[in-house]
């Protein structure tokens, strides 16, 4: 029997039982859909993921892309897998019908995508980038740009990239130096170097569209002078046929710890001063446009991290159930048959920890995707607004928490396999290596922390933060009357107050001591708020489990019991951390702030 890499039962739980995704079909935009179409689509995703993505996950890791005669060569399975993904229609699925899409809710899209991520994170990165780039063009491109570039991006002839990072400017995009010079013909000539560009060069598609951040000559310094450009690898003629090769050159490939199937490139734009590029939207608004895409991309990154954690959890669970080792402490008979690993309490601790992290992160990610749908298409304006606020404040958490804790889950998966887990014969070490990227890209977790505390908590006079607290309070109120949940509702209520108090104290510091002190412990703040949010998500899952438990039969009973136990684990072992974290924050601890470079 093959070992599963994702759990459909849990997907159904989150999608239908917790989020009620069918209700989206009452919105006009989704009216053609039903539970039946969702399930049929998920089924196709599962089949393609199993047959074409999972099957070369190890091979892609062992055979990273190489340059042969100036061309990037990638194992053929990658192209084949993406071909199936594309032919089925997953690149276009969420788009309008007139663009070839089927107006699939983003949450169902994300659920399908999560299966591919669990199956093979590095191959699905190519469509991931293409979908994100197409979304930006659809939202901000001119009609002419949309007509020329969207169709090939939605049917897989053209892939996309996001080219933000430069060698000297990673986290600090304000310092990018790639420049754009306007020409009388209306386009721009681009010049500069980009670093770490995923999918920057390959032969998987006929063409590549790079979305590049650059400064128009004479633009104001800092982020207010950054514009967004569309740079095709091959020029596209008005009739859609491909023209000349553009002046974009690969200066090298990067060799990485994980995500090895995704080609990482250093790109030179305009070495020969003829890199033709087209401004997207208005000048100097590039970063705003990019962040539009980032919100959804960051949910995707968080989901990817959750899925790698999840796949490791499922593998280690299967291993723990089938590996005999040792006897229970109470059994003194050396002749007795050894028990399976799962019989040892400490192994169950490691499994529970993984379950609590990955199922929590998974539910959070799909919840965020569901917020995207609500924000865009809910008929009620107030709901749209509230969901937008929640999405704003949750985005840094949705990206950072799963990437931090999904990785910790992978650590425990390796631990459960013991020495075998450390060898390359088992998949868990690859999951760990792959997952190590997620705290780094799409804005490092350090940058997410600054985004949360520095921008999101204070934005619109704290409206987003207040909305989050209100949403948590609503869940507490609803769950309170249920005896099984009573203890946890009390604990969550306390944690909520703790986080609120710490936030108020920090905001006071901001007024008195300035931004430096305010942001000094931002990462700890992100961790604390992340744990509060995850406890909330767990309470929501537990509430559903409680409601359904009574009428459930057989394996469903066990499934719901598992949910309650994982919730219990989170509340007993994890949530209490917020109290000491809050203590450090309220004390305005200056240990890191005061540390001097020459004391190291």
């Amino acid at each position: 029997m093959t070992i599963p890499f994702f759990d459909r039962r849990n997907m159904n739980f989150v999608l239908y039982e917790m989020l009620g995704a069918e209700q989206l079909t009452s919105y006009d935009y989704y009216r053609e859909h039903s539970r039946e179409t969702f399930d049929a689509i998920i089924e196709v995703a599962e089949q393609i993921a199993r047959e074409h993505f999972h099957s070369h996950n190890v091979k892609a890791d062992k055979n990273e892309p190489v340059m042969i005669d100036g061309r990037v060569t990638i194992i053929p399975e990658v192209k084949e897998a993406i071909g199936h993904f594309t032919e089925a229609g997953f690149l276009a699925s969420h788009h309008r019908e007139d663009l070839g899409g089927i107006q699939l809710p983003w949450v169902v899209n994300q659920a399908c995508f999560s299966i591919f991520q669990a199956a093979n994170i590095s191959t699905v990165a190519y469509p991931f980038l293409t979908i994100a780039a197409a979304n930006v063009i659809e939202a901000f491109g001119s009609e002419e740009q949309k007509a020329r570039y969207l169709p090939p991006m939605l049917d897989g002839r053209c892939f996309g990239t996001m080219a933000l990072t430069e060698p000297q400017a990673g986290s600090s995009l304000a310092d990018i130096t790639t420049t754009a010079v306007p020409t009388p013909e209306g386009h721009y000539l681009l010049r500069g170097n980009k670093m770490f560009i995923s999918g920057g060069e390959h032969e998987l598609s006929e063409n590549i569209v790079h979305l590049v951040l650059a400064r128009i000559v004479g633009a104001p310094p800092g982020v207010k002078g950054i514009s967004l450009f569309l740079v095709p690898r091959y020029q596209v003629n008005p009739d859609g046929s491909l023209g000349e090769h553009n002046d974009v050159a690969v200066s090298g490939l990067l060799h990485k710890m994980g995500y090895r199937g995704t080609v990482s490139t250093a790109l030179n734009f305009g070495e020969n001063n003829r890199c033709v590029s087209y401004l997207i939207g208005e000048p100097h608004k590039g970063l705003t446009y990019m962040f539009h895409m980032m919100n959804e991309a960051r949910i995707g990154v968080g989901m990817g991290a959750a899925m790698l954690g999840y796949a490791g959890y499922l593998y280690s669970l299967d291993y723990a159930r089938t590996r005999p080792q040792g006897r229970l402490p109470s059994n003194k008979d050396p002749q007795a048959r050894p028990v399976m690993l799962v019989e040892h309490t400490d192994v169950r601790r490691m499994l529970l920890q993984q379950k609590a992290y990955v199922e929590g992160a998974y539910a959070l990610g799909l919840y965020a995707a569901w917020l995207v749908d609500q924000h865009k298409y809910a008929p009620d304006e107030q709901i749209r607004k509230n969901c937008g606020l929640l999405l704003d404040i949750l985005t840094p958490i949705v990206k950072a928490w799963p990437s931090e804790y999904g990785l910790k889950a992978n650590y425990q998966a390796i631990q459960i396999l013991g020495g075998y887990g450390y060898t390359r014969e088992y998949p868990v070490e690859q999951y760990y290596r792959d997952n190590r990227l997620n705290p780094i890209h799409e804005g490092t977790n350090g940058i997410q922390a600054i985004d949360l505390l520095g921008r999101k908590v204070t934005m619109f006079d704290g409206a987003a933060f207040k909305r989050l607290l209100a949403a948590i309070t609503e869940t507490i109120e609803q769950a309170k009357s249920e005896p099984v949940l009573k203890e946890w509702t009390g604990q969550l209520d306390q944690a909520l107050t703790t986080v609120e108090t710490a936030t108020a104290a920090l905001l006071e510091t901001l007024g008195q001591e300035g931004i430096e002190t305010y942001l000094a412990n931002a990462s700890l703040y992100l961790e604390m708020t992340g744990h509060l949010v995850l406890a909330w998500i767990w309470l929501r899952q537990a509430s559903v489990a409680c409601r359904r438990m009574e009428s459930a039969s057989g394996s469903d009973q066990k499934f719901y019991r598992g949910k309650l136990q994982a919730c219990r684990y989170f509340f007993h072992w994890e949530l209490p951390k917020v109290h000491y974290q809050s203590q450090i924050l309220r004390n305005m601890d200056r240990t890191c702030l005061d540390m001097q470079d020459d004391w190291f």
Binding site: M1, E36, T37, E43, V44, G89
Partner: protein, 257 residues
């Protein structure tokens, strides 16, 4: 051209099977369901034939409880034109002749030119329904096909025989073929086609109206075979082990005959 494809919904073979209380079948609770793999080849071949022959029309038929409609929807999304669902909550207890009889009763006056079935079902594996159905409809049948082509009222198929041999068979339609794994590469339903499948006709007929034959056989019991002894571990010095291994291979296998 009028085409019929008969499909069965079966449990995912990766499932954990438990024998049910009657001991004559497995417990169907908590199983994931999918299209019988052999039938997927049948659906694919039918759709390819339709793509070749202008105006061809494919009916997909399945017998079973309501949930088999999910599997029928997949066939519709793959390209079948209409569905006939014969509602039957007792399908797992029926023997192959009964099943073939029900389908024959439905198909008799419909003038199908081509009928595709799987070579067997993954869960029951009797391999009888296709041939019995052909017999009942008095049309020719070829089993275990791994290649199919059609030209002007005639089909040519290849059959897989033991020992790596293949046979090529040609016959006139109307005909029935039973499909073997590897016949083709079944397509995945595309998302737009899943949406279109929603609007295709799916007729439901009660099994009572079509069941004219009594069953001819009954499964007395299903069971997991008893585990044979574990593997054999040889120990000792390598030269002697090699001799011992050769002996065993000679006695117990045909590898070194």
């Amino acid at each position: 051209m009028n085409i019929l494809v008969c499909i069965k919904q079966v449990p995912d073979m990766e499932s954990k099977f438990r024998i049910d209380a009657s001991a004559a079948w497995f417990d169907t609770a908590d199983l994931a369901w999918r299209m019988n793999e052999y039938d997927e080849y049948g659906v694919e071949q039918a759709v390819r034939l339709k793509e070749q022959v202008a105006g061809a029309d494919i009916t997909v038929l399945s017998i079973g409880p309501d949930k088999v409609k999910e599997t029928m929807k997949k066939a519709l999304a793959m390209g079948c034109d209409r569905g006939v669902h014969i509602t039957d909550s007792d399908v797992s207890r029926r023997d192959p002749a009964e099943i073939a009889g029900i389908i024959a009763e439905y198909a008799r006056d419909k003038n199908f030119d081509m009928i595709f079935t799987g070579m067997q079902s993954q869960d029951r594996g009797s391999g009888q329904v296709g041939v019995l159905l052909a017999e009942m409809l008095s049309c020719a049948a070829v089993t275990t096909i791994v290649d199919f082509s059609y030209r002007e009222g005639r089909i040519e198929v290849k059959r897989e025989l033991e020992g790596g041999i293949r046979a090529s068979v040609a016959l006139n339609i109307p005909a029935l073929v039973t499909c073997q794994l590897g016949l083709n590469k079944p397509r995945y339903p595309t998302l737009p086609n899943i949406m279109k499948a929603k609007k295709k006709e799916l007729l439901s007929l009660p099994v009572e109206d079509l069941r004219k034959l009594e069953s001819r056989q009954q499964t007395a019991r299903i069971y997991f075979p008893e585990k044979k002894g574990g593997g054999l571990v040889l120990e000792g010095d390598p030269a002697r082990l090699a001799d011992e291994l050769i002996q065993i291979l000679k006695q117990k296998t045909s590898i070194l005959a």
